[in-house]
């Protein structure tokens, strides 16, 4: 072959900046879409992606990947895997697919922002691949999810959830819109790639695909691994961006962007992946807990990455360690007891054997969150099902949109971090969510949480109004995925004793 090697022509494809003269620079790269952070364009042009790929090689490798992934999908269609899957695994699949299909597709637009409004030609080309990748991730995942729809209508939410006002969807949209879709190209590149792709997608995709393989769901596992290879490539946009910021006197700005984005994504992954890993994954297939994965992949690996880039560990690193062991346990209680507000069938996952596992991974769990579950269990055993659903609405954080919780147990004290602004009281689940709000209140102050909407008249007061507002028909209100049969595990020893 008399072909040029990629490195011979690649730099020419990155020499594409020009000086406009028929419009001004500010018109072509306006706020709020573009922000140079007062760093010269020539410096941004030095952006050098660590992993280089040509369009030619991109379409070839992506085609090959899809052949592999979709052949597994075809096998899935012929198997009766789903019929045999436990309610545990079904809940996990429904939660995952309903949250990620539109979220990933949405990211295509964030990469579009980076391409259109960045001054780094190399980054623009990488972000073009990022856009294509995210179209792929939306499409491949929703196609896999579609396979389950004929078995179970909850998977309709993989398609419809994007435009609903369900409280979990609002929470996820708020986080993603904050870090990726309402920021200038530079900030979005740093926040999306450092705060999400490089830190947490490993958690969702690598960890979950390992669990999936153990559960016999090889289609899910193969697809997740295939997605992760894309994420790992385009996530590399973040590092050179941070390096340029740090080397040009903008470390503090980069540090803040990473800290905001990382925390916002941590809250989402804590609730979604945390519940998925420590509760919904069938016990016999669980090895590592959320905490185990966080210690290895995030506290360890991501921490080293950001320090190597010249950033400091986030100021809240100690608080994060506390949150890793606590937040998602409280969220699991909330998701279960308010299960009618979920589109899938939540499961408790606190059988005696599961509690033993939780206690081993999170020493003290039985004396804290376990006490809360004791009350739920007692009510179910007494047939007082209505008592398992709290009458008062939860307090929802005005940043992450999740429940303000704290550590359950005899000394349960949930700490509501508050800010009063313009005669409105805002509630936060943590000092970090509050800190993010106070950095730029105008970004956040006009948003109403789902509970705020109940009180400001947005949502009616009729018995069905709340559900209709969220997009739930009566049949779409979550019920216990096991129809409470998991409680049998508590009856057996008692009967034996009797």
């Amino acid at each position: 072959m008399a072909m040029l090697k990629m490195e011979e022509w690649y730099d020419l494809a990155r020499e594409t900046n020009w000086t406009p003269s028929y419009v001004t620079e500010d018109e072509l790269f306006p706020l709020p879409m573009s922000n140079n952070f007062d760093i010269p364009v020539s410096t941004w042009e030095s952006f050098d992606e660590p992993y280089k790929v040509s369009y030619r090689d991109y379409v070839k490798s992506q085609r090959d990947k899809d052949v592999g992934a979709y052949s597994v999908k075809a096998a899935l269609a012929r198997s009766d895997f789903f019929k045999k899957a436990s309610p545990h695994w079904k809940a996990l699949l429904a939660l995952h697919f309903s949250a990620v299909c539109w979220a990933e597709f949405h990211s295509a637009s964030a990469f579009g922002r980076m391409t259109r409004f960045s001054r780094s030609p190399g980054m623009r080309n990488m972000a073009t691949f990022g856009t294509l990748d995210e179209i792929r991730h939306g499409q491949i995942q929703i196609y896999f999810a579609y396979e389950f729809l004929k078995h179970d209508g909850v998977f309709d939410w993989c398609h419809k959830s994007s435009k609903t006002e369900n409280w979990i969807i609002i929470s996820l949209r708020h986080a993603l819109d904050d870090i990726a879709h309402t920021r200038d190209a530079t900030s979005a590149a740093i926040m999306l790639n450092m705060g999400l792709e490089q830190s947490f997608t490993n958690l969702q995709f690598v960890a979950l695909s390992a669990d999936a393989a153990k559960c016999g769901d090889h289609s899910f596992a193969t697809m997740l691994q295939s997605i992760q290879t894309d994420e790992a490539r385009h996530a590399q946009i973040g590092e050179p961006m941070v390096r340029i910021m740090c080397e040009n006197g903008k470390k503090a700005e980069a540090q803040q962007l990473v800290e905001i984005a990382f925390w916002r994504m941590w809250k989402q992954f804590s609730a979604l992946s945390g519940i998925g890993m420590d509760y919904y994954t069938p016990l016999e297939h669980r090895e590592n807990s959320l905490k185990d994965f966080m210690d290895e992949w995030v506290i360890g690996q991501f921490g080293r990455t950001i320090e190597a880039l010249g950033l400091d560990l986030p100021w809240y690193w100690d608080y994060l360690q506390y949150d890793i062991s606590t937040f998602h346990h409280a969220q699991q209680i909330g998701v279960y007891v308010y299960r009618a507000t979920q589109w899938w069938r939540p499961i408790a996952c606190v059988s005696p054997a599961e509690r033993e596992w939780l206690e081993s991974k999170y020493p003290g769990w039985n004396e804290t969150y376990g006490k809360c579950w004791d009350v739920v269990i007692e009510n179910i055993r007494n047939g007082d099902f209505e008592k398992t659903v709290p009458a008062p609405p939860p307090l929802i954080c005005n940043m992450c949109g999740l429940e303000v919780s704290g550590i359950a147990g005899d000394h349960w004290k949930s700490v509501d971090h508050q800010v009063e602004l313009d005669n409105r009281l805002y509630h936060f689940c943590s000092p970090v969510c509050k800190w993010i709000f106070e950095i730029e209140p105008s970004r956040y102050k006009g948003h109403a949480s789902i509970i705020d909407r109940c009180f400001d008249g947005t949502i009616g007061t009729g018995p069905d109004d709340f559900y209709e507002y969220m997009g739930h028909s009566f049949a779409e209100r979550g019920v216990d995925g096991y129809d409470y049969e998991w409680i049998d595990g508590y009856d057996t020893p008692q009967r034996a004793a009797e």
């Binding site: 020009w18 637009s109 929703i142």
Partner: protein, 329 residues
Amino acid sequence: MSVEPQGMKTWSKLATNKRRPSEYEIVTTNLQTRHRHREQAYELSPAPDLAMNQWYKENVFDSPLQHHDWEEFRDPDALIYRVYTRTQDVQEDYIDGLLDEHNEIDHDASLSAEWLDALERLYTPRRYVQSALQLGGAYLLQIAPASTITTCAGFQEGDELRWLSRTAYRTQELKNAHPTCGFGIKERTYWEDDPAWQGLRELLEKSLIAYDWGESFVAINLVAKPAADETLRELGAAGRHYGDHLLALLVDNQLRDSDRSRRWSAQLVGFCREVDGNTAVIDGWIEKWMPLARTAIESYCDALPESEGAAASAVARVEAFHRSLGLKD
């Protein structure tokens, strides 16, 4: 007993379709979140407190181009990612073959000095055109009000990078064969200063700042891109007169991608025309942008050697494309 779930035949939002949904519809519709609330496209403070919500409100919800349900738009090619990469991989194989064969026969050494001057001035600077069109596609996809439109624009952006890359590739080959020419060195200067390019540069720069999403679509996809593509077609035609069959074949292949852009763009125009008033809006924008396009085509084509009448032909083809949209019915 665990709860027995009830299955569904298809997504509830597609259930009223008369036909069984295709894979395209299953995986491309309703995946966008931002087109819900006029003041609050994004889940943060409403406009005007959050600048991005203000931007979306002004440029999409308040655009002169209106439709009651943008999500109903469908790409006539029903193109999905896995078909896009498969199709383009085959096309790239073909391009690799072309480049390899012509390199083997020392094609670039056979080019005349007169034609090399034309390539240096009028071909290799085209990577800036591709870059501008890449930016245009990237804006459209991030602002479009439906996932089916975003997907079309995403593949179009990919195409622009494809030809940006191939132009860079050819630039390096020509530089290797003719190191004393300006290949790989003078492109930016030509693009910024040569009179042949100034019309296209003005058209592209100005269309890139048409931030209203509807006007952006018209300015880029119905005017600037077709105009740029028609100048490319004339360049390829001139190449044939100078024995540069490689360039002509590359241009032919690039225009295949552009044809796809025109197909979905025409479909979107037809979709918009279902709503009263949109025809006049689109027609008005075309009228507004065509003078710049005519100037752009003329200034470029007039510089092409062996190309008498090229500008008129190129303009006529852009106008024929506009007539095919049925706006003047």
